[in-house]
């Protein structure tokens, strides 16, 4: 009961509920209305009470409409109710957000620190090698590593082992494939621009595929992870495919040391030319088709 301004001692008289109601209905005698209006200038509890009475009264809908129009005019997001704590309303995620914001919200937990750090390390490492150590093959190494990074992202964002909320999400209508795809999309949305731009900024290697060459292989491997994940779980699927890919890339290079710095020939055979890229596209389509066939398996129950 402290008035925010003027007199140090608050006025002894306060607006009664009955008077507030009469005032809201416009039925209060003129002298009472004057006293009330004078009083609410200096007494915020009474002002609150009178506002509430007016909002609840016949003028309420008109006031709400004016408020909504005003907020719309100043470009404000409409709040569902006049919330007493505007600070809280701004962070409340349940508000009708834009589509983009909602997607970010949905995917947020997927982009966990460890994985983002891993992507940054791979990129940073490639740059350090190329510009710090003058290593010519940095770009090809980044290209070789790029397709497995989204796999790691998928593995750490969905499933019993990776998602602390899994047990709760599994009992919700959005918990299955839909959530997995949302998170995969978020992972790709981070990976694709970062790694492609990173590859383009590194010094080019002669006779070597461009920075975008990893996109189809990356997509195919990601879809293969989801499809295989419908049988064995995402973590195992990601580990299998990433391991297989790294073996396929590094095996031939390590097999013939010295002859092929940076493994350019091996990588070129995987990435370059319409045949290689066409095969990746076909593989991506096949995996997508398999995933469509297996779409129910994520929803139902106990994916390992």
């Amino acid at each position: 009961m402290t008035s925010p301004n003027s007199s140090p001692t608050p006025p002894p008289w306060h607006v009664s509920d009955a008077l507030a109601l009469r005032y809201a209905e416009g039925a209060a005698p003129e002298t009472d209305a004057w006293s009330l209006e004078k009083h609410v200038e200096s007494c915020s509890p009474c002002a609150g009470r009178v506002s509430a009475a007016v909002r609840a009264g016949a003028a309420g809908p008109a006031l709400a409409a004016v408020r909504a129009d005003l907020l719309a005019a100043v470009g404000h997001r409409p709040a569902p109710a006049p919330t007493p704590t505007p600070a809280a309303a701004s962070v409340s995620a349940g508000h009708p957000l834009g589509r983009g914001a909602r997607l970010w919200w949905a995917a947020g937990p997927a982009l966990r620190g460890s994985w983002v750090v891993a992507v940054a390390l791979v990129l940073g490492g490639a740059f350090a090698l190329a510009y710090g150590a003058g290593f010519q093959g940095a770009r090809s190494w980044l290209l070789a590593a790029s397709p497995v990074l989204p796999l790691a992202g998928v593995a750490v964002s969905y499933g019993r082992h990776a998602d602390p909320l899994y047990e709760i999400t599994a009992a919700t209508p959005s918990g299955g494939l839909r959530l997995l795809l949302t998170r995969t999309a978020a992972v790709l949305a981070v990976c694709v621009p970062l790694l492609t731009a990173g590859g383009a900024l590194l010094p080019p290697v002669a006779g070597f595929p461009g920075a975008a060459a990893w996109l189809l292989p990356g997509l195919a491997l990601t879809l293969a992870t989801l499809a295989l994940g419908s049988f064995v779980g995402c973590r195992a699927a990601a580990a299998t495919l990433a391991g297989g890919w790294l073996l396929a890339v590094t095996g031939p290079v390590l097999g013939q040391p010295g002859t092929d710095p940076g493994g350019a020939a091996v990588l070129t055979s995987y990435f370059s030319g319409p045949v290689a890229q066409g095969s990746w596209a076909a593989a991506a389509l096949a995996c997508a088709a398999l995933l469509v066939l297996r779409r129910r398996s994520f929803d139902h129950l106990e994916t390992r």
Partner: protein, 271 residues
């Protein structure tokens, strides 16, 4: 108990690798608060997880809120009307309570225009309103559990499954929680798995007692208390009576099992 059953389970068998967690269980529940009692490892959590549509039964039929859990479309519809508090659950530590509950509301497809109010109401009902913008990692164990209860009730579920909801709550919070339970149980079907007999005594209308994957007792809380018989002590509480009833029901069940001829048991397991 003339209301239609919201949970109808017939011949439910759940296996974990080689062990049988639930053995041809039949159970039907209608709106109200049902206590699920039983020794550790009896199959309470297995049952709750099947009812939450998280685990698949090895065999048997599970109908929830009039829909069949085995069919994809009906399962999705059931999940919108379901609330589930797992025995153990994690959270994203950087989320605030509000974000955590709102995230689950989003997963449960609570309409966006109602979500913000629903989140605040759920958090307020579990008594965490003053910590709504605190990060999950700053909360104590009891508060995390209450946030877990808030996410379970954010969509006003018709079927609410709570696995050990009072673990980690202090006595005062337990009293508040039971009051909330009674309020929820007037409309919804609430299943509370617990090993605390006093929870059952204070809040539950009826009790299912599970032992080694089989239903050992089913009846009202008063019937379970009556099983324990009269006590000589005039200062005896309901909790004590139910505790005695619990022990008596378990013992009677074990005696029945032991008395049954082996052939009959084998035939039943083939069924």
């Amino acid at each position: 108990m003339n209301q239609p059953a919201t949970v109808a389970v017939t011949g439910l068998t759940v296996r974990h690798r080689r062990t049988v967690a639930l053995d041809a269980l039949d159970l039907s529940l209608s709106p109200g608060i049902h206590g699920l009692l039983g020794p550790n490892g009896a199959g309470k959590t297995s049952l709750i997880r099947v009812l939450a549509t998280v685990a698949a039964p090895a065999s048997g039929r599970v109908e929830l809120l009039g829909g069949d859990v085995g069919s994809h479309g009906e399962r999705t519809a059931i999940r919108r009307r379901l609330g589930y508090l797992p025995q153990e659950f994690g959270c994203y530590p950087a989320f605030t309570v509000r974000e955590f509950v709102a995230y689950v509301a989003w997963l449960k497809e609570v309409p966006a225009d109602r979500a913000a109010a629903a989140v605040e109401r759920a958090v307020e009902r579990v008594g965490l309103a003053d910590r709504i913008d605190a990060r999950m990692k700053t909360l104590s164990g009891g508060m995390v559990r209450r946030a877990g209860i808030a996410q379970a009730i954010v969509n006003e579920p018709e079927l609410l499954l709570l696995d050990e909801p009072t673990a980690g709550l202090d006595p005062e919070q337990r009293v508040d929680f039971r009051a909330l339970l009674r309020e929820l149980g007037t409309e919804a079907t609430v299943v509370v798995s617990t090993h605390l007999v006093e929870d059952v005594a204070a809040a539950c209308t009826d009790v299912a007692l599970i032992e080694s994957g089989v239903l050992a007792f089913r009846g009202t809380t008063a019937e379970l208390a009556a099983l324990g018989g009269e006590s000589g002590d005039p200062g005896d509480s309901t909790t004590n009576a139910i505790e005695r009833g619990y022990t008596a029901a378990l013992r009677a069940h074990r005696d029945r099992l032991a008395a049954r001829p082996a052939g009959q048991r084998a035939k039943e397991s083939l069924r």
